[in-house]
Amino acid sequence: MGAADMVRLEDLHVSRTLSGRKHVLSILVENRPGVLARVSGLFSRRGFNIDTLAVGPTEDPAISRITLTLDGAVHPIDQVTKQLHKLINVLKIRDMEPDDSVAREMALFKVSAAVENRAEIVQFAEIFRAKIVDVSRRALIVEVTGSHDKIEAFESMLRPHGLLEMVRTGEVALARGGD
């Protein structure tokens, strides 16, 4: 039977669909009205949950970058990217490998800071390389940038002190290296 023997049905397997980890997708889209609605609409329609989402301009004014994170334990990332590629305005999608990319998030925390615990908060801020960006009689606003985990850690430190409000940007990421 010759060459045909090289593909035996019992040797055919399918690849796993769930990666089991968090993914950061960097999506380059045409900067056109409604593009974000198309992307977010696709996610809700297909039942994909976005954990964070950040949108902004790129070096090319005609192109915007959408960075989003989602859970690869719940969603088959391959199917998500293939669906995204079907959107005509989506130009490029990169699934950012943790080792080959730099991902950062920025957050602002407003903490109630009576005079007696201010020092402690300032100390935390120093450890986390955060900045106090606003000071008022009852509260401080602290700005912190870093990996998702660092921000989570910082938040858990601040919480016991009375977290009044917070805002996080969602992760943005770039691939390392020159390409």
Binding site: M1, G2, A3, A4, D5, M6, V7, R8, L9, L12, H13, V14, S15, T17, V29, E30, P33, G34, A37, R38, G41, L42, R45, D78, Q79, K82, Q83, H85, K86, L87, I88, N89, V90, L91
Partner: protein, 559 residues
């Protein structure tokens, strides 16, 4: 040139010669431009029907179907047709008028955010923001609608832009869209592996779908299937791509498919899916679907591959280009047809044991299956058949025996009742020399019966064979079988009088309630020089079998 006139030029450049639609305030400039444009406008009675007519036109001809609607209600009336075209991958372009640019977002008169409304149900949409863009958008729309996996594209044109003067010159090159490059060829290495897998399969089955019809790849499919003795089944949407009178044909698969086709899938060791999307009407209970099989999946849309059923050998490409390569690769291998003999004897045993049959009726009773067989006889099996949605649709699929592609036009994915008549009008406009017959259901037909006026006014001589069982038959069947015969909302009642209704529209109306007269009445309907409706009184409580109850496995077929 006025932008609205440039729109007409752009349409003509795309090869459009028919448009279905209704005017209104926001697309007055477009309709003004139509006066001098050398295009046939088919004025329909409802925008939804205009959309379905465009779909019927596209299904029958393979060309892009075009529908116009005005802003607001005109546009929202198109929504069902757009969703239908999306689900069945029908190449269509919908052009809607929009309120003046300055009114957008102000809840202006007849404003509806149709781009927003249709976002999840279009292949793509374009809102014109500058008059200069209109021609380019039209070219992009046709390119996107007709290439890759086809689908509906909406172009929304604010009325003020249509009136502006712009420079128009026909496009010179092909449309280039950086974010849209369908992969057509198929990976050669994968195709070689696929051929080898097929060569080693002892129980292979070809599962073909609507993608083969879209690809105009019937010949290529036949070449492949007959390059060895492969059994073939197809989805509802793929009927006709492979001739039903061929000995290798097993009949349709899925919920109302043949036992042979479904058991074949169940016991196959290799399934070769071509332009089919593993819909739940096919797979039933996913965990028990084709438990013994490995899958080769050929599809032009990468997102279809492994969406529902993981593919062992994925091939992204156009069936028309991939199939010849697969056939060539397979022929180059040393294969042994005799390996399929055991498989065929198993298949033949199913065919003998479970042919598609029905209980003969009582004296004079018109069984719905018999009605479809009679349609085949009267039309020589060669008409374009459109259908509504329900039992009659399934009986047509089972009993008509389609031997050629683009002869079977129906709403599969969305299952839109009322699709049959307007799509027949579209098909007849596209193929005036073909016999076009709409097999209608009594529940469905009334949903777009106003289009009988279109058929009369616009001189589109379609024939309607109404399978009148007095029920929302398919739903009644489910209530009977799965809801303890608690019938609810399924009796259609004595109204309307279909013959008088047809006559009121200026069409011919006929009635038949005796099986002995059916052939003659059908012939009279066909022979009538103009639109005609034959009201056929069929067995009221006939059930459509065989059937895989929803969510069950192929082995659990009943009936």
């Amino acid at each position: 040139m006025r932008a609205a006139d440039a729109l007409m030029e752009s349409l003509k450049h795309e090869g459009v010669d028919h448009i279905f639609g209704i005017p209104g305030g926001a697309n007055l400039p477009t309709y003004d431009a139509l006066v001098d444009a050398d295009l046939r406008h088919v004025q329909v009675m409802h925008e939804q029907a205009g959309g379905h007519a465009a779909e019927g036109y596209a299904h029958a001809s393979g060309k892009v179907g075009v529908a116009f609607g005005t802003s607001g209600p005109g546009a929202t009336n198109l929504v069902t047709a757009i969703a239908d075209a999306m689900m069945d991958s029908v190449p269509t372009v919908f052009i809607t008028g929009q309120v003046r640019t300055e009114l957008i977002g102000t809840d202006g008169f007849q404003e509806a955010d149709i781009v927003g409304v249709t976002l999840p149900i279009v292949k793509h949409s374009l809102l014109c923001t500058e008059a200069d863009h209109i021609p380019q958008y039209i070219h992009e729309a046709f390119h996107i609608a007709s290439t890759g996996r086809p689908g509906p594209v909406l172009v929304d044109v604010p009325t003020d832009l249509s009136k502006e003067e712009i420079e128009y010159s026909p496009p010179t090159g092909p449309v280039e869209l950086p974010g849209y490059r369908p992969n057509l060829e198929g990976n050669s290495k994968q195709i070689r592996i696929a051929a080898k897998a097929v060569a080693n399969a002892r129980r292979p089955i070809v599962y073909s779908g609507g993608g083969v019809v879209n690809a105009n790849a019937s010949e290529e499919l036949r070449e492949f299937v007959t390059c060895d003795n492969f059994p073939i089944t197809s989805t509802l949407m793929g009927l006709g791509a492979f001739p039903a009178d061929h000995p290798q044909w097993l009949g349709m698969l899925g919920m109302h498919g043949t036992r042979t086709a479904n058991y074949g899938m169940d016991e196959a060791d290799l399934i070769i899916a071509i332009g089919a999307r593993f819909d739940d009407r096919i797979t039933g209970k996913l965990s028990e679907f084709a438990p013994n099989a490995k899958f080769i999946h050929i599809d032009i849309d990468p997102a279809e591959i492994s969406k529902n059923v993981p593919a062992h050998i994925p091939i992204v490409g156009d069936a028309k280009r991939v199939l010849p390569k697969l056939t060539r690769e397979y022929r180059s291998l040393q294969t042994d047809t005799a390996r399929l003999e055991g498989w065929w004897s198993r298949i033949k045993a199913w065919q003998d044991e479970y042919p598609l049959t029905y209980e003969p009726g009582t004296e004079g009773e018109i069984k719905p299956q018999f009605m479809v067989e009679m349609m085949h006889k009267v039309t020589g099996g060669d008409a374009i058949i459109t259908s509504d949605v329900g039992q009659h649709q399934m009986w047509a699929a089972q009993y008509y025996g389609f031997n050629k592609p683009r002869r079977w036009i129906n709403s599969g994915g969305l299952g839109t009742m009322g699709f049959g008549l307007p799509s027949a009008i579209g098909a007849k406009v596209a193929c005036p020399d073909e016999e076009v017959v709409c097999l209608a259901g009594d529940g469905s037909l009334i949903m777009n019966i106003q289009e009988l006026a279109t058929a009369v006014n616009q001189d589109v001589p379609v024939k309607i064979f109404l399978q009148n069982n007095g029920y929302m038959g398919m739903v009644r069947q489910w209530q009977e079988l799965f809801w303890d015969e608690r019938y609810s909302g399924v009796e259609n009642g004595p109204s309307p009088d279909w013959v008088k209704l047809a006559e009121a529209f200026g069409a011919k109306g006929l009635r038949c309630d005796d099986s002995a007269d059916l052939e003659e009445m059908m012939e009279a309907t066909i022979a009538h020089d103009g639109p005609a409706l034959l009201d056929v009184r069929t067995s009221p409580r006939e059930n459509c079998y065989p059937m895989i109850p929803a969510g069950n496995a192929a082995r659990d077929m009943v009936g």
